[in-house]
Structure formats: structure tokens, C-alpha cells
């Protein structure tokens, strides 16, 4: 692995090694562009993966102090765990389940499609599906997504998904399949085929599922063009007199501070930490935080309109055997104002192990007693879905900084506020009803409706917009205010769409790498 000097001001500094940062680092490295990746967490490898929900949670989650705010139930039930994300080499791609869906065309054009919505801050993206299609294809090839682009068949169906699929068939649905997943169904790209281990969200012990931990990051390091520094928590991005980003200050594991010079800075710390870094980097020249002339940094926080549904079937299901998200139902992904809400939603089969099921069936102080225990006695007869749909941008849903409490690095603690819009209540009711109908059609006796989990999909807090007064970055993720500052993660999203975000994050990062290399060559940055 290369080692770059702290005073080397020719490097691109990438903050975060997850889906966005890891992909960007490898893409740049393959083009010969030199970079230093600063990653707050530790270096992990396949040997760290255990098939144990709480052990992995404790080992790799981002557990620095955070608060939940706003009107969602988590402000009460998950007061210090608004999100479930990873701090480490590979970021949340260690935990992610592998669902790799593309946005639909209308989902890039939410303002034009939905119109102005009271209480929401909905806008169109400066890119559309036609522009993104070739980048989606590159992302699918890179990640090894089952489906037409790679020709890899979707995964075999496990018990839990077979139950869901049969319910779909009996209720006249047609769009249900076991992909697209960024999980090898056959050996590919030096990684084995899925062995139906389960525990995909605890990290894939054999590397069948794409993660930057064992693909992009080591490949970037192998080129000699990229140095990944772990245990390097970025505190502040600095700029010169012209207002160009020129250095990044970080703390190592002993708390010692270092200052890495940079030609270009790319922020990919996920949608809580990325805006927090920009806000914490306020200076005399940029008193409201870097790249924040629009006032939109930290605003428009989206994490999908979600819930869980678990049905009890007359016979054993053993849903935990095999891929955690074993199938996807896409029939509800369309916009029809007649349904009482804007946007669409997916149903994704999701197995939880017994520990997580018992914790999330009824989260909070009330989740005990005869009803909970009785439901858990049906655990081996359950099949269930995670429902997720379009979450409208709202300014009040935001990342703000606590005015007195600081974390172990001395940085103000972030407060993550989320208050559902009426659209969310309407959509959630529809999601629960649809899921119940599907499961009833296969003979479900009880159906349990679970509220949203701590957020795993986080988007929108440094959003793209063609108009610099309405968004933080342009169509390449380049800050409107600072040419050599980029946002390279899901915080760029203008809208959330119904689908899981990572394929789009990766596609945008590949596209951004091309743009950065071109702009560097042209000496524009």
C-alpha cells in the first residue's frame, strides 16, 4: 500500500470507506489518481465476521453519541440509536443486505411528477434515468448484481420468500423475484457463490455479497495509488484564502490530531456525518458551514417510509435459513395520487434472527409481557417483509448539532430529527394492508405490524440541485460553493425513491470519479 506525506497537496482526500468512498477510491486508483482515504473506524476483514446479531452490532456499529429527535416513534423508543450504520473499513457495506435496485424514471422527477406538496420540499434531480443508465450498468458489473446486466441468475428461493411469493401469486401480483441482489449466485469476480448462510446483515462470512471491505478497498490499495488510513476520524475540512478546500484535520486512535493536505476533498461519511463535517468546518469565510450558501446542508434528511410486517403461518417456515433479503416485490412501485399518497413502495422479504425479532417486534419500554412472548413462540412459523417507500424531503427533518454536549472527539453531538409527513402515514397504512392481504392469502393466522427500525438508509442532507440556492451540490456531487469539494455518498440524493440507495450511490461515485479525473486533468480543480 502506498503511503503519502501529510504535506502532499496533490492527493484527493476521501472521507469514509463505505459504498461511496470505497468505490470512488478504487475508481480513481484505477485511473492513476492518487488518494488518501480517511476512515474513522478500524480495519476489519472476513475473519471478524460472526453469525451473531448482537456480537456484530457491538463490534462494528457506529456507537458514538447521537440523539433521535422529531415526531417519529424512535425519538422515544430509540433515543440514542437513530440509525444503524457501520464505523469501519468497508463502512455500512459490511452490514448491508445486498438489494441493488435502480430508481424508476419518475423517481428522479419527483417535483414534476408529484407537484408541490404542502409541508414537503420535493425537487427534481439534475440527472435522470437515461443519463444514469450506463452508470447503473457499470455499478451492476462492478458489484456483481444478479440480473440482465451480468447474466447472473437471481438466487434460489428460500422458505420465507416462497411463502411471500405464493401470497403474491394468489393476490394477482406479478413482479416478485429473488433479485436484483449484489450477491453472487455463481462464482464470480474471485468471490464464491452464496451458501445460504443467512446473517447477510452481520457481514457475509464468505464474501459472496459485495462489500468494499474485500473488493474496492484492497483493490485500490493494490494499485499503489491509494492509502487507506483507519482509526482516522475527520474533525474539520479547511480551506485557503480563495475558499478552496486545502486540508483535512483528523484524530488518530490515541486522539492525536493530524492535518492532511489535499488537492480535492470528497466527503463520504454517510448522511449524518457528511453534513455534520461540513457544519463543523464553519469558518470566518463560511460562517454557516462549508458549501452551505443554500442553507440546505443537513436539511431534507430522508430515510425511507418504512415498517416491518411478520405473519404467522400454519406450518414451520424457518425463515432465517438462507439469504436475509431473499426476494423483492415491486408491484406497488408506481405513483398514483388516487392511493392517497405520492410515490411507491417495495416489499422486501427480510428475516431477522430471534434476538433482533425479540428486540424490534415491539421496541421500547413496553415490548414485554404475554403478547410479546406469545408472538415470539411463533418465531419458527413466521415470514415477513420490510416495507420501504418514498420519503418526501422536508426541511424540518434535519441533522443539527447539540448546543452543549460533545462526543469523545470534542465535536458537538448530532441530533437526527425525523417527523413523518401525512404522506408517510397514508403510505404506511397501505403497506401494512397490502402485506397482510398477501400473507392472509397463504393462510396467515396472526400478522404483526412493526414500526420503523433505526434508519439504515440515510439520504438527502447535502442534496443535488441544478439551482445553487436550492441544493448543496451539482449533478456531479460537486459543491456549488467550492469547486474542489465533493459529496460522494447518499447525502447527495434529491429524493429517496422507493428503492434501497446503494446501487445509486455506487453509480454516482463511478460517474463522479470520471468527472474528477477529467477536471483534474483539465486543471480546473
Amino acid at each position: 500500500m502506498a503511503q503519502f506525506d501529510l504535506n502532499d497537496d496533490s492527493v484527493v482526500v476521501i472521507i469514509g470507506s463505505g459504498a461511496g468512498g470505497g468505490t470512488l477510491a478504487n475508481e480513481l486508483a484505477q485511473k492513476g489518481v492518487k488518494s488518501v482515504v480517511l476512515e474513522a473506524g478500524k480495519r476489519f476483514d472476513l475473519g471478524d465476521i460472526e453469525n451473531d446479531e448482537w456480537a456484530m452490532f457491538q463490534k462494528i456499529s457506529w456507537l458514538d453519541k447521537r440523539y433521535s429527535g422529531g415526531g417519529w416513534h424512535g425519538a422515544v423508543n430509540h433515543p440514542t440509536l437513530p440509525t444503524w450504520l457501520v464505523k469501519g473499513y468497508g463502512g455500512s457495506t459490511i452490514h448491508w443486505a445486498g438489494v441493488a435496485l435502480r430508481f424508476k424514471d419518475f423517481e428522479f422527477k419527483t417535483r414534476s411528477t408529484y407537484g408541490e406538496i404542502d409541508g414537503a420540499n420535493v425537487e427534481d434531480w439534475p440527472v435522470d434515468l437515461e443519463e444514469m443508465t450506463p452508470w447503473y450498468e457499470k455499478a451492476e458489473l462492478k458489484m456483481g448484481v444478479t440480473g440482465k446486466t451480468t447474466g447472473m441468475p437471481h438466487l434460489p428461493w428460500n422458505n420465507g420468500f416462497r411463502v411471500l411469493a405464493e401470497g403474491c401469486r394468489r393476490t394477482g401480483r406479478s413482479d416478485y423475484r429473488s433479485g436484483p441482489m449484489a450477491i453472487n449466485s455463481v462464482e464470480r469476480d474471485d468471490r464464491p457463490a452464496c451458501q445460504q448462510i443467512g446473517f447477510c446483515m452481520q457481514g457475509c462470512a464468505i464474501g459472496a455479497k459485495w462489500s468494499t471491505m474485500y473488493t474496492e478497498l484492497p483493490r485500490a490499495e493494490d494499485t499503489g495509488n491509494c492509502e487507506v488510513r483507519t482509526d482516522a476520524m475527520v474533525l474539520k475540512i479547511e480551506h485557503d484564502d480563495q475558499g478552496k478546500a486545502n486540508a483535512v484535520v483528523y484524530a488518530d486512535k490515541d486522539g492525536n490530531q493530524h492535518r492532511q493536505k489535499a488537492r480535492v476533498v470528497c466527503v463520504a461519511g454517510n448522511s449524518i456525518e457528511s453534513p455534520r463535517m461540513l457544519l463543523n468546518s464553519a469558518s470566518n469565510m463560511f460562517p454557516d458551514g462549508l458549501a452551505n450558501s443554500s442553507g440546505q446542508v443537513g436539511k431534507n434528511y430522508m430515510n425511507h417510509t418504512t415498517g416491518g410486517v411478520y405473519a404467522v403461518l400454519p406450518e414451520k417456515v424457518h425463515m432465517y435459513r438462507g439469504t436475509s433479503v431473499a426476494g423483492i416485490v415491486g408491484d406497488e412501485v408506481y405513483h398514483d395520487a388516487g392511493r392517497g399518497f405520492s410515490g411507491g413502495y417495495y416489499l422486501e422479504f427480510l428475516s431477522l434472527g430471534l434476538p433482533f425479532m425479540a428486540a424490534f417486534l415491539e421496541p421500547g419500554n413496553t415490548g414485554w409481557g404475554r403478547s410479546v412472548a406469545g408472538a415470539l413462540e411463533n418465531y419458527d412459523r413466521m415470514s415477513g417483509v420490510w416495507v420501504l417507500g418514498e420519503d418526501l424531503a422536508q426541511e424540518r427533518n434535519a441533522i443539527t448539532l447539540h448546543d452543549s454536549e460533545v462526543d469523545q472527539y470534542g465535536l458537538s453531538v448530532p441530533i437526527i430529527s425525523k417527523t413523518p409527513h401525512n404522506n408517510d402515514y397514508e403510505m404506511t397504512a397501505h403497506m401494512y394492508e397490502t402485506s397482510a392481504q398477501i400473507y392472509e392469502a397463504v393462510g396467515a393466522t396472526d400478522v404483526y405490524e412493526l414500526p420503523a427500525y433505526p434508519a439504515t438508509h440515510n439520504m438527502g442532507t447535502n442534496r443535488m440541485h441544478a439551482d445553487p440556492s436550492k441544493g448543496v451540490v451539482n449533478a456531479y456531487g460537486q459543491a456549488h460553493d467550492i469547486d474542489n469539494l465533493f459529496v460522494s455518498d447518499g447525502s447527495q440524493f434529491t429524493s429517496s425513491a422507493a428503492c434501497n440507495p446503494t446501487l445509486t450511490i455506487v453509480a454516482l461515485a463511478i460517474r463522479q470519479a470520471e468527472y474528477i479525473a477529467q477536471e483534474m486533468n483539465a486543471q480546473n480543480i
Partner: protein, 197 residues
């Protein structure tokens, strides 16, 4: 928000039968409990709890996650022991626990005229505990019970969970797709055709 039981859930009659059965089970167990405790050196030796308090604690962990048909008394005793051991090492926690158990008994006397562990109706006991569910001592006991049951590898098989599979080569040859009450999934050929058309 809470779990919403569905409209097609068990009929009222089933639920009543269930609740009668649970009532019988739990009262029988309460009997076992007291006997077991009288002869249990470990419980008697608790430095922080009186005998009455440890009886209440054992009743409480059973009422928090009641699985009379699935778990053994020894599972609950182990949880109560963990709570007591933790309390012995932490004076504040011990005080919270003993005060809390006394408050539960006081409320039981007020509402039912007997100590908490002597209330026969499990619904009444749960209703009583609900008064205390937002208090620290209660949640401390509750989460100890949670980890002692649902994150306990010895208990998993009793609740139908098999856990870690990587060391066995996954579930690919161990029943990931073995149910028979719904049709099988598409064959490899069908899945290939789906992505190649």
C-alpha cells in the same frame, strides 16, 4: 407504537383457552418456584434481596417474558441470579432494585390485598408490572431477561432458532428451501431464462 395483532388472529375462544392454560401453568410454576427457592442456597444467600424480594424477582422475570410451555424454571432462575449478582456489585442498582420490588409489593397490597407474587391471575400481575415499566430498575431486569432468553444460545433451539450456520457450510444443504405447504421456487433454468430474455 405497539404490535398490532391482526384481525384474523386467534378467535376469542382460543385466546381464552390459551389464557386458562397459561393461568394453570403459571400458578403451578409459582408453586414450584416457592419450593425451589426455599431450598435454594444460592437464592437464600443473596446479599441484597430478602427472601420475599427474591421470590418477587423470580416471579417478575417470568411475567416479563412468560414461556411456560417452552422454557424451564432454571432458565428464569439463572436470569434472576444474574440480576442479583449485578446488584451485589453495584450499590445504586441494588437500591433501585430493592426499592422497586418493595413498590411493586406495596401496589399489589393496595390493589389486590396480597403481595405481587401471590396474585394468581397472570393478566393482573402483568397489569401491575405495567405501572412500573418506565422505571430504570424495571428495564434493567427486563433487558437482563431479554438477553438471558432471546440472546441465549441454549434457549434458541427451544424457540425454533438454529443460529450460526457459517461453520456448517450455511443452510444450502440444510433446509433453506424445504417447506412443502407452498410451491417450490423457480428452477435454475427458469431463473437463468428470466435474466437472459
Amino acid at each position: 407504537m405497539s404490535i398490532r395483532f391482526h384481525r384474523l388472529g386467534k378467535s376469542d375462544e382460543d385466546r381464552m383457552a390459551m389464557s386458562r392454560r397459561m393461568f394453570l401453568m403459571t400458578t403451578t410454576m409459582a408453586g414450584i418456584t416457592t419450593n425451589a427457592m426455599l431450598s435454594s442456597a444460592a437464592f437464600a444467600a443473596s446479599e441484597v434481596l430478602t427472601e420475599a424480594q427474591s421470590t418477587s424477582l423470580l416471579r417478575m422475570v417470568q411475567d416479563i417474558y412468560p414461556h411456560p410451555d417452552f422454557l424451564h424454571l432454571s432458565h428464569y432462575e439463572a436470569i434472576a441470579m444474574t440480576v442479583m449478582t449485578n446488584a451485589e456489585a453495584d450499590a445504586d442498582m441494588a437500591k433501585g432494585l430493592t426499592d422497586g420490588l418493595d413498590q411493586i409489593d406495596a401496589k399489589a397490597q393496595e390493589l389486590f390485598g396480597v403481595p405481587y407474587a401471590k396474585i394468581e391471575d397472570p393478566d393482573a400481575r402483568e397489569g401491575l408490572l405495567r405501572h412500573f415499566q418506565h422505571e430504570g430498575f424495571f428495564q434493567g431486569v427486563r433487558w437482563t431477561a431479554y438477553f438471558g432468553i432471546y440472546d441465549n444460545k441454549d434457549v434458541w433451539p427451544l424457540l425454533g432458532y438454529e443460529g450460526s450456520s457459517a461453520e456448517h457450510g450455511g443452510y444450502i444443504d440444510r433446509g433453506f428451501s424445504d417447506i412443502t405447504f407452498v410451491p417450490e421456487g423457480p428452477t435454475l433454468e427458469e431463473r437463468m431464462a428470466d435474466v437472459q430474455s
